[in-house]
Structures are given as structure tokens and as C-alpha cells.
Symmetry: C2
Subunit: 214 residues, 2 copies
Amino acid sequence: MESINNKIIPKPIKNLILAFSGLPGIGPKTAQRLTYFVTQKSSEEIETLSQALVSVKDHIVLCEMCFYIMEINPDKDSRICLICEGNRNKNQICIVESPLDVIVIENSGIYDGLYHILHGAISPMNGLGPNNLKIDALIKRIDNNIEEIIFATNPTLEGEATAMYIQELISELNVNPTITMLARGLPTGADLEYSDFSTLSNAFENRSSFNYSE
Amino acid sequence: MESINNKIIPKPIKNLILAFSGLPGIGPKTAQRLTYFVTQKSSEEIETLSQALVSVKDHIVLCEMCFYIMEINPDKDSRICLICEGNRNKNQICIVESPLDVIVIENSGIYDGLYHILHGAISPMNGLGPNNLKIDALIKRIDNNIEEIIFATNPTLEGEATAMYIQELISELNVNPTITMLARGLPTGADLEYSDFSTLSNAFENRSSFNYSE
């Protein structure tokens, strides 16, 4: 975009390309394509997208308990999300990095306990320390009623470091929940030939007995 | 997104995910990621993006001559873009599918003639016929002053068919411009081993004499 011919790009177009480029995973080419797409849409359609954007900021808050995203309810003082309020197993807390992880797990239907969303992982490279995450609030939530804490942070360096950091804080508490983490191994549908060393060694280490079912 | 647990996704979030999903090349996962990203941004930042979106529709029109995108100038009646108005070679018209193609060519600085933007290519699959494109206006532009018409439609089935269709219309006119198309061959930096049959056969057919420079 920093070309001598930049002047042939109208300013509103440049502004939108820049605004799109600021979104995660949107490179300059995609930003240009999105912008061109927008110029072809009707004003009503663009208004819908624009309203949806602003509306999210105006109507969304984080749950005070688990920090999942929730719609503001003007009739209620407390900000507790549907999951925390719901008929769930209140003795389990599953720790995840992002609200998107909650959506994935909820869509799978395999878990019915509570969550705690950290909103990131410890990453000195990105300037994210423990204080930038919802760790203090997590530690405060853990009492004798909590029977199991499941670490479901990402299987990355940052995710693992975050889990280890939190696990140490928990060990200093006067409680004794079972602490687990999601299993590591080969993802379904993967090609063994292309699996990385870490995944393969995890898959070997955590191998389980073979259930031969006819 | 069509899950039984869909109810745990707040409505404003769902709306924004849907709105993002409507953009080209944005799948459901990316739409979710963008939405979560938006929830983390300040209201001011979101307002900027939202304004940029609406502003594009309010301030952009197509040039009456070449159909490139241009900013509305309230001081002027005619809607002629900077390129058409500029000090360019007015005897050449380069036919492209999209305004993005103009930006790419302009950024390269290798062309100083005029353009004509079709805003698409003939594609019965996508319900796009000749009448959906700026073909009539192109034909009207071609008079005896035009010395060369360069087809720079995409090297796809649709792009080639569109070029052929327009070329026939031009041949019926009472004018005789030189008609050219961008060269086909191996792209710079490509790996011969991985080139497709069509590219390779084009590269062989259009081979040029080797200029041995010491």
C-alpha cells in the first residue's frame, strides 16, 4: 500500500483497508478484497455489519464468575452467565484460554461442569504476564467444593507454561482438587507420517491398551 | 454454529459472527475469531472500523468513464476518476475485472493508459451474464482514438470467455484498434516441477528468443 500510486486509492477505501488490516489474520490482500466487496454491497447490508460491530461492544460483558462473554441483562444486577447459572456440575472447573474454546467444548456436548476463561496465555513475547489474565479470580474461586480442575489451555509453549504456573498457585492453596489436563496424542484423521515429534512422542507415552471390538 | 448449545452464544455475538461470515473468504471459524477479537477492542477502535465501513458506501462512487472506484467530490458534477482525468495515454484501454486489478497494475507503474473495469467476469454458474458487467459502456467508449485495447482479465475460464465475448463485440464495430492480451507463461519464482499443464503449454507456445547477456 505504500506506493507512489497510492493517490489513486480513494481515502475512504484506504481507511477501510487499514481498518480491516487491523483485524487478526487479515493481510493486506484480504483487506483489499473485503473492502472491494463492501463497495459492492447495498447500504443496508453494510449498515447491518456496522451495527453488529457496535452492538457487540454495547451489549456484551464478561461473566463475573468465569469471564465468559454474555449479553448485558438490564433487569439484573449480577453479571453471571448462563453456564455458571445453569444446572451444571459445580464441582468441576475447566480452564481455557478463550471464549471460543468454551463454544467448541459446549458444541461437543462432552462436558457439563463450569469454566474459567483466562483471556489469553502467559506470553512474555506478547507482553502478556500473569496479571493480564484472569488468574487471581480463578484462585479465589477454588474452594473445597471444587473436586476437579481440568486444564484445557492450548497445547502450545504458552498454554503449557500458563497451566504450570496456575498449577503451582493451586498447590499452595489449602485445598486438594484433582488436577487433570486434556489428553495429548494423535488427532483424529491425522496422517502419522506427517505428525511432529512432540505429538508422536506424546502419543507413544500416553498409549493405552488396545480394545479389540469385533 | 447450528448446535443445540447455540444458546450459550449471546445474540450480539451470533449476529456479528453471521455478519462476518457473509464476507468473502471468511469461514465460520475466522468469523468467530474476528468476533472475539472485536469484543476485546475498545469502543473507540470498533467505532473507527464501523465508521470506515459506512463511510465507504457514503463517499464512494464509480467513475462514469472507466468504473473505477472514486471519492465523491461535492464540488463537481461529473464523476470522472483521477486516472481518466489525469495526464495519461488516452489511446490505450486496459480491460480488467476488478478495481483491485487497477491498484496492482498502478502500483507496478508499468502502464500509463486508461482502464475499463468490468466489475466481474461472465460466469453463468454465478448468474453473471454480459448484462451484469460494464460491457455496453466499454463498447461505447471505443472510437477511432483508441489505438490499443489490452485484455487483462484473469487467466481463468471466466476471464478468457469474457475477453472472447468482448473481442467479438469489438470486431463488429467500425474501428480497428490493436487488440492484445497479457502474456501467458511461467510466473516469476515458480517451480517448473509444480506448474500445471495449461501454464506449461502456454510457456512453451509463447517461448521467446533467448537474450544471452553476459
